[in-house]
Symmetry: C2
């Protein structure tokens, strides 16, 4: 496949796309992104992803140079150029080129097509193990580009055969490094409501679950994990991935629970018919 | 002037230097930098700057692709190409190009010549006002590229005519957004020793001060500012800049103190003869 990108009004092959060194995203980590995917050749829930992109931009006081309709037009152009049926789109909005390496003048905006990661069925089937780490993202409501923490933890995760990291601070659980966190206590589904990036898959799962379970959006305490019957994480590429272990704490006896499987089925049906 | 840069083994005009989109510094804020300057056409304290660059790299588990001697050779080449007597050098080490936007394979390393900022004599003469903000950098000992905070505070600082921001957390003062913090209480010079990036100018000032004052490297509490007789900040371009006000708190009655002026003189002599 040949990936393409949009950069400040131009469409070009992704491997020819470059940015100058005085961009504030590169020099100062002042940038945000979003990541949308297709199912059945169609962008999935594009309005919700765009809503979030614009919210992140507002919180960083950056202007997105195109409106939603224009962006989704370029998304479709890029997908056609890339000749891919299903793919992902990475949106990146940086503080732009700066004359003094600190002052924002005009943001740089790019959209890049990417391959969707290869899905590993075993993860959906048997669940994953994760580690916990004391951390709180600097601006949790913004999908900023700051991923220092999980990159620094990569070696530890690999050595522990951990799929990802669960953040907590002052005993309060927030989110995984790039996805949201849920537990079942009996028939009650619980997920944190603050200090998190509100995922699109999280939003869908809450809608699906509301029709079948009691749902609580509230703080989850770290030691509450011992009482959880089931746990899972949600994300654009993770969909609903069951979590069967956090550090040494097994959840649901280390087996994927029936309620999680039920939600997985609902989600699979939803995307099959999207 | 024509600025030049070194990028992964090549020397080229700075305006022709670009980086691809899949660099982890851009996509994930996974990068560190350093900033060295010349006095009298000579890099100032190059060994100390290089030592810090390598320390930051070690803490992020990134390998600097050149050794100190090689880097300082390129620094001199760049200065000659730029035809500048005095200039600054920005070193940037990123997580490099990544196949999956998370995994570090091989860092990207660049050195860019820059103009030194224009000095405003009034700041050295009459001091500056700063604001305080509750914040602690994620990895204070690393000169990482994460400057989200001061960029977000830029408007507030401008409206308050503030020069910079002083970080504190749990009542403990750490540093300014890009420089170190000192107070005088009588003849005792005090500066924080933890949760800070240890500046090169800080190191020099501690050496100079040791011969004339009692020096304490310890935690400074926020409410201790009310008892400070003098305050100043140190940095590569800020040198010794007196601070005469923090939010509404005047320091030394809003006037630059004699001890700060004495240190400024020592520093001016040192660089004049460097």
């Amino acid at each position: 496949m040949n990936h393409y990108c949009y950069f400040n009004g131009e469409l070009l092959p992704a491997n020819q796309a470059t940015i100058k060194f005085n961009d504030l995203g590169l020099l100062r980590g002042f940038a945000l992104f979003d990541y949308m995917r297709t199912y059945n050749g169609k962008p999935f829930m594009p309005h919700w992803y765009m809503e979030r992109l614009f919210q992140s931009a507002e919180l960083l006081d950056l202007e997105v140079p195109k409106n939603e309709t224009e962006i989704l037009y370029y998304v479709e152009e890029l997908r056609e150029l890339s000749k891919m049926n299903d793919c992902a789109f990475r949106f990146l909005l940086t503080g732009g080129y700066s004359p003094d390496s600190m002052t924002v003048i005009k943001p740089n905006f790019m959209i890049i097509t990417e391959n969707l990661p290869i899905e590993i069925p075993e993860r959906f089937e048997h669940g994953v193990k994760i580690i916990a780490n004391e951390h709180l993202r600097e601006l949790p409501e913004v999908k900023s580009t700051n991923y220092m923490k999980p990159i620094l933890l990569a070696k530890e995760m690999k050595s522990k055969n951990a799929y990802d990291v669960l953040y907590h601070k002052n005993q309060e659980v927030s989110e995984l490094s790039r996805s949201n966190f849920f537990i079942f206590k009996g028939d009650t589904l619980v997920t944190p409501h603050k200090n998190i990036l509100k995922g699109i898959t999280r939003r869908i799962v809450l809608q699906l679950a509301n029709q079948h379970f009691k749902v609580e959006e509230r703080t989850i305490l770290l030691d509450e994990l011992a009482q959880a019957d089931e746990a899972f994480t949600t994300g654009t590429t993770k969909k609903i991935t069951p979590i069967v272990q956090v550090d040494e704490q097994k959840i649901g006896g280390g087996e994927v629970g029936t309620r999680t499987r039920f939600l997985q089925e609902l989600f699979t049906n939803l995307i099959a018919n999207y």
